[in-house]
Amino acid sequence: MTEEHTPLRLKTGLAEMLKGGVIMDVTTVEQATIAEQAGACAVMALERVPSDIRKDGGVARMARIDIIESIMSTVSIPVMAKARIGHFAEAKILQELGVDYIDESEVLTPADDKFHIDKHAFDVPFVCGCRNLGEALRRVGEGAAMIRTKGEAGSGNIIEAVRHMRQVITDMREITLMGAEELMTAARDLGAPYELVRMVAQNGELPVPNFAAGGIATPADAALMMSLGAQAVFVGSGIFKSEDPPVFAAAIVKATTHWNDPALVLDATRSIAAAPMAGLDMDKLDPSEMLQTRGW
């Protein structure tokens, strides 16, 4: 593998195509079909949805290959899959298999407590989670072609995704107001590559698409994240841990498209006559149970 022989533009290009859409976590072919029929713009294949990983514990790994393969051969939309943080061997397997995007994800048990994957070395594009601008730019520096908030996966609680999206935006706003001479110090404080900090200071936006994930459970949650500046949303446990997955899936798709039209978000919300997934109160979550603190 030579360095960066797939142009970043092709990698971010697919993320551009996903904008305004919903990427849904699925664990089976049946779920993938439900997601596609509900209007998902992509599916994310994983062995267990985050709320089950949280509940059942154990080591969470890349999904079973036969399941990913059968999802890939069944749906016509892009198929993403998760690899453990730092587990470049899992990532190589997923690339070989031909998945369309890899999520180097804190939802799975990390394989390396110091280093993330060198994503420049891959042809397949990667998405990574972040809690602030420094973390976002570290991942972009490593080659990620899409950034998402970490939020708190499997919690059904939107507060962490909101916190992370707002933090990224606040951080960006601060550096766009800085003079050129301040940017190196900002890069040191953010722990982010200087050239990327300069790029954000000039353009006022991340160099790659910026999506939301981690705790989205209702159409209103999706509309909230889009209103805060997310360009698309990932929904993990929120669909298949709800009482009526096809209806929740379609309603979240509609609310994501029409986030700035309250009448249509109301329509989407009204279409649901079932309970969303049960949520977790962050104050009652032991810090050691937080998934967002995995990776740095």
Binding site: R9, L10, E16, K19, A38, A40, P78, V253, T257, L264
Partner: protein, 190 residues
Amino acid sequence: MASVGILAIQGDFEAHSKAVLALGHTPRPIKTANDLSTADALVLPGGESSTMLKLLLDEGLFEPLREACTSGRPVLGTCAGAILLARAVTGPAQESLNVLDMEIERNGYGRQRDSFVTSVMPGTLGGPEMEAVFIRAPLIRNTGPEVDVLVEHEGHPILVRQGPVWAATFHPEMSSDTRVLAAVLDSLLE
């Protein structure tokens, strides 16, 4: 200066918006049927055609959009947008607006790992070679007698036109080269 309506229910409508601005025109997002009336020209962007189709059908935008695409206004569909415009869709089959006489295969080049950037001869658009960005691109399998094939790549049409309706299987909006959009909007003056 033209008002260019860009279907903005899913996909790379922001990239199209920037391209329209770069040519000095005004982009207008189209999310509901009411948004269609003020547009002098229409763009159907890249994205996931199955997602767009579902939203178009569920929200009563399909038929108004079809009418707008047959109203004589210039229309450009790229990638998923080209799929929506086609007469017939395969891989798998799905409904389409049937305003451009061609059969198109979804993901005809393969998956993301088969996405590529290449240079193509621009044909009647004129000028030097043109960059073409293909992302999980569809493949035009055949075209009807009324369709002009303007640009080809490896024997397959990649830019076609039937009257005011244009379709590209690649993404002109992802290149700095503005020739395709400029040609489509030039037809406003024809």
